[in-house]
Symmetry: C2
Subunit: 82 residues, 2 copies
């Protein structure tokens, strides 16, 4: 199953609880697209969130994030990992 | 120990072997700054590399990457993880 990293901007000052709630919103519906969000990391000073996911396509990852309320156009397919 | 994500641009068409070599160059000297690069992921079509690291500071991570031949100004401190 391909792996993806997506990047979100503008999450300045977001708390751990808020990131958890956003991640839970993804987890609640991800199965409908065969996606799984493994982990999310936040830099609240830079407003950046990175999500590591698996799924059938980049578009499936984008659709889940959009439906969960935090769309991003920036999704990368990670074909190489070391 | 704080965790960091750094992002590199311009790695278009890089192979698994080349990413491994770049990662090994980090691993060879990372101990000198108390840094550890846990993982690196590549999207060769977008030319993006993401590295997950631990270390004492963002600057320490940047110094190792610079000395290993692949500097980047884009390093984020991941104070929250879910």
């Amino acid at each position: 199953m391909p792996k993806y990293m997506d990047v979100h901007d503008g999450f300045f000052g977001v708390t751990a609880e808020e990131l958890r709630a956003a991640h839970d919103a993804d987890l609640a519906i991800e199965g409908e697209e065969g996606v799984h969000f493994e982990r999310a990391w936040l830099d609240p000073e830079a407003g950046k969130v990175f999500c590591l996911a698996t799924g059938p396509s980049k578009e499936a990852v984008m659709r889940i994030h959009k439906r969960a309320g935090h769309p991003t156009p920036e999704v990368y397919e990670l074909s190489v990992e070391v």
